[in-house]
């Protein structure tokens, strides 16, 4: 055994001691204050569950590295630190790291990490998932395109972090029976300019062809767009998603099976971005 028990007697922290430690740890974490997240009911949403999978992947790698060097588990425990955080209930974050799946359409709910995510993770210092702030379904006459809109606030990213990869993830259930045996094309656009009385100007980012009968997570690469929004937040006008048949006919979101705000928490759309520190940040002297 290469460590001994603490030589000081354990006791509960006094109030001022707790505040001092909180202040120091917040400083290490690079946070100006203690976060107060809203919407406690949404803590079991798709984004936090996906991030927990990434967390498990990262800590598994850290454990293996330590075991190789010391022959012991992470932090001295025989098999590393616990997989779950505070939310250990079945409805919460009690998860065990799952093997990575490279399937383009993952039917897992909540979303599972893929081999792409593992590669992004290896290069990243930080990963953030973003809550969708706005969602509108726009249904028009048959001449115009049905689409859904999404917007994500990327202004809260800590200084000194550069985007290395970003994904938009949205869940598609099985489409309406009238589209049973056809192939659908799901396309994501970046909104470039908005107009009051006509369709917005958009830029095509990525598209997927899937069977209407298939259900699962769709992942779209929006790295360049996210980078652009981080550098130019005033030009962040969100994303649009549309679903069409192969002959170009636009389908409304509900019939297509695309899950939105009214859907289950574990299938909510979200944006995930991987970052690398672009500069060294120094703590201020206390």
């Amino acid at each position: 055994d290469n460590h001994v028990h603490s030589s000081f007697i354990y006791r509960r922290l006094r109030n001022h001691e707790r505040k001092e430690i909180q202040r120091e740890i917040l400083s290490i974490l690079g946070l100006p204050h203690r976060p107060r997240p809203f919407s406690p009911g949404k803590q079991a949403s798709s984004a936090p569950l996906f991030m927990l999978d990434l967390y498990n992947a990262m800590t598994t790698e850290e454990e293996e590295a330590i075991q190789q060097s010391t022959g012991k588990g992470f932090n001295g425990k025989a098999h590393g630190l616990p997989r779950k955080g505070f939310y250990g209930s079945p409805q919460g974050y009690s998860r065990v790291a799952q093997p990575y799946r490279a399937a383009p359409l993952s039917s897992q709910s909540p979303p599972q990490t893929t081999s792409h995510d593992t590669n992004f993770l290896n290069d990243a210092d930080m990963v953030m998932s973003f809550v969708n702030l706005v969602e509108k379904d726009k249904d028009f006459s048959h001449q115009r395109r049905h689409h859904k809109e999404f917007r994500f606030d990327l202004t809260q990213i800590p200084e000194g972090e550069a985007v290395t990869a970003a994904e938009f993830r949205i869940y598609k259930d099985r489409s309406h029976v009238r589209y049973e045996n056809i192939t659908l094309k799901v396309t994501v656009y970046q909104v470039v300019k908005e107009y009051l009385h006509r369709d917005a100007e958009t830029f095509l980012l990525d598209s997927r062809k899937i069977r209407a009968s298939d259900g699962g997570w769709l992942v779209f690469d929006i790295t360049a767009t996210s980078n652009h929004w981080v550098l130019n937040p005033q030009q962040n006008m969100g994303l649009q998603l549309s679903v069409e048949t192969t002959d170009g006919r636009s389908i409304n979101m509900k019939s297509a099976g695309v899950v939105g705000r009214s859907g289950p928490q574990s299938k909510q759309p979200f944006l995930v971005a991987f970052f690398k520190a672009s500069e060294v940040l120094f703590r201020s002297v206390r």
């Binding site: 001994v4 028990h5 707790r18 107060r36 800590t59 850290e62 616990p82 955080g85 953030m128 809260q156």
Partner: protein
């Protein structure tokens, strides 16, 4: 031959006798010092105890460890002493008032990953380096 901090009251003893008494004491001193030699000790930082369950998703806490112990002559192999520390130990024996003993401090540190919510309920996963003591040493 180093005098150390203790005064030699037996000035009339021959050098050989003095050296013999010192080496005997040195042996006992080495035994007691080895018990308090520079080593890694347990220290656990609990995010739960800090009342942060509502915004830190994982982990509940982490074992940070700390280093404590003597870095005295002779520095054994398990003390992970640098070559410089070995030399400084000897110089401390000669000039204890001028040159301190080497310090027992972390020589290798590991990172931890923390998963947490921000004010907007976005989720952040970040790796923080040099958070956990992996090994202690004299330097």
């Amino acid at each position: 031959a180093a005098g150390g901090k203790k005064k030699n009251h037996n000035r009339n003893k021959s050098v050989g006798q003095q050296e013999a008494s010192r080496s005997a004491k040195g042996g006992e001193l080495n035994t007691s010092e080895q018990k308090q030699a520079c080593k890694k000790h347990e220290l656990y930082v609990s995010f739960r105890d800090l009342g942060w369950q509502d915004w830190i998703i994982a982990p509940e806490g982490y074992a940070a460890f700390y280093c404590d112990g003597e870095c005295s002559f002779p520095l054994n192999a398990h003390m992970n002493a640098t070559n410089h520390a070995i030399v400084q130990t000897l110089v401390h024996l000669m000039f204890p008032e001028n040159v301190p003993k080497p310090c027992c401090a972390p020589t290798k540190l590991n990172a931890i990953s923390v998963l947490y919510f921000d004010d907007s309920s976005n989720v952040i996963l970040k790796k923080y380096r040099n958070m956990v003591v992996r090994s202690c040493g004299c330097h």
